[in-house]
Amino acid sequence: MTNLTSVPGADVVPAPAAKSAGRKPSTKREVNAFTGLAHIGLVFWALVTAGPLIWVVLASFKTNTEIFLGKPFALPQSFSFQTYVDAWSEAHVGRYFFNSVFVVLLSTAGTMLLGSMAAYVLARYRFFGNRFIYYLFVSGLAFPTFMALGPLFYILKNMGLLGTYTGLILVYIAYSLPFTVFFLAAFFKTLPYEIEEAATVDGASHTRKFFQIMMPMARSGLVSITIFNIVGQWNQYLLPVVVISGPGSDQKLLLTQGIAQISVSAGYHAQWSTLFAALTLSILPMIVVYAIFQRQIQAGLTAGAVK
């Protein structure tokens, strides 16, 4: 990174001294002005980013009257957590939240297990049909998910999986496989063959080699893509809307669906503070997780785009 090279004594870098000595003051002023402008721009965007989120938190403590007064960033007159209690139990944010946690835990685990198995075999074994299966998976990247909504719905219906978490988890896994396989296959290809050969000589079975040698060696890639899948599946909206539908699905909604529904009913009943509390409850865990793992999360989410 360029911004780490503040070597003490860097000032002594010889070359420019003689040539630019004459115009140094003006250059410096230009630089300071530039840095100042840079900070203004950056602070502005930081405010634009954080502003709506801070506003949501503030509004969650306000009464409807206060909300309609304007002055969005004024502090609330009193801090009561009643709106949070309402949001958690009456608007069922708590239930939606744990529904999401449950589904994403299982589906990410399943995606990683099945995805790495497929990727490993496709990356490191030669057999008839290898390329065909690989490209079958990768071609899934080219198709927009919502293109096949109807058929997906009826496939699930015919299998009796509509409105079930089993169905949703299987669908999550299936739609996460293209990218997972694509990414991990590339990753497994880069791992050295020597250790694997040594293990073969020692009589390790293929399955054992995979779980005890290759998986640990691929840890960094697995971590990135796990984070990628957790975030992607946690944020899904379209697939749960299609799968968790029909009678009796009210109890089963995921967080994204649930918040969208609360937003609609808040509009009818003018219970805005409950909506804001619900939003805060769904944002806060993300902030906590992000505060702890921000480096890994940034790396994981951008991993897909950096070749």
């Binding site: 075999v121 293109m147 058929p151 299936a174 909506l275 951008t302």
Partner: protein
């Protein structure tokens, strides 16, 4: 070495391939097939050839939706990439110069952390938040910030501006991700190159246009494709945030919403599949075009 190879391969592949074929491949194949039918979701399937596509050709809402997708397709990548490049550049080389070594601004890490956060929020939740931010009365954040003497802006309820609001929200969410992505790319550009250019008296603007952008071209290409794909989607945000879902008066309808509504609300699965097929070819054309048009100009770092 060959001992047990095939049972192992089959054992490892069978479940993922079966799942993928059942829920993804079969669904896509069926949507091509259903595009040729008038299926409503129930009863017998009747093939009608290309009638759905003819109907699409004469459907005003389809053209309107397509225009909205193209609006996003052009503006979302351009604006996001431009702003993200500038911020990434400021973060990496916007700081003071010391003996020819240009450094990032102070606090660049904190900025990056804040900018990136919206990426972690579900688009659905962002849509709910901004539905209120753009609230058409004093309870909306922006109208609340405006002076009391102004009459409230309608934002999403105004046909002329509703699409722009959607664009703004998508940009708001995307920028941080691309700042981090481009920062990583800029970090891997050798500082020697910047130093050498700085010694030659290059200004920051020259550095930006002559060094940073050409060396980042590959990453920018990827960003363009990603943002383009996001522009073809936008379902969550339109479905949740817009007035009347796609309104007012179709002013924010997009293709993904049309597919959803035709499938689940208007019982026109065949017609929805036809839109899906069109969308598929649009996405493919877009990705191929982007890669072709931008290929020549790439420079190896």
């Amino acid at each position: 070495m060959r001992h047990g190879k095939y049972p192992f391969i089959i054992g490892f592949l069978v479940v993922p391939v079966a799942l993928y074929c059942t829920f993804v491949v079969a669904a896509y194949i069926q949507s091509f097939q259903l595009a040729m039918t008038s299926w409503s979701g129930f009863g017998a399937i009747k093939y009608i050839g290309f009638e759905n596509f003819q109907k699409l050709w004469n459907d005003d809402l389809f053209w309107k939706s397509l225009r909205h997708n193209l609006f996003l397709l052009i503006l979302l990548p351009i604006v996001t990439i431009a702003i993200a490049l500038v911020f990434a550049f400021l973060l990496n080389v916007g700081g003071s110069q010391r003996g020819g070594v240009t450094r990032g601004v102070r606090g660049s890490k904190a900025y990056r952390i804040i900018f990136f956060f919206p990426q972690l929020l579900a688009l659905a939740i962002v849509a709910v938040i901004f539905g209120r931010v753009f609230g058409p009365d004093k309870s909306g954040m922006l109208n609340g910030l405006f002076p009391d003497s102004w009459s409230p802006w309608l934002f999403m309820a105004d046909e002329r501006w509703a699409m722009t609001c959607i664009l703004v929200v998508l940009i708001w969410q995307a920028i941080g991700f691309y700042v981090v992505l481009f920062s990583a790319g800029m970090g891997s550009i050798s500082s020697d190159i910047y130093e050498a250019a700085a010694l030659d008296g290059a200004s920051r603007f020259t550095l930006f246009f002559r060094i940073t952008i050409p060396l980042l071209w590959g990453t920018i290409q990827v960003a363009w494709v990603y943002l383009g794909i996001a522009a073809f989607d936008a379902f969550a945000i339109v479905n949740i945030m817009t007035v009347d879902r796609g309104g007012p008066n179709g002013a924010t309808s997009v293709l993904s919403l049309m597919i959803y509504r035709n499938t689940f609300e208007f019982s026109q699965v065949g017609y929805a599949s036809a839109i899906g097929v069109v969308l598929f070819f649009l996405t493919l054309t877009f990705a191929a075009l982007t890669l072709r048009v931008t290929r020549r100009e790439s420079i190896e770092a």
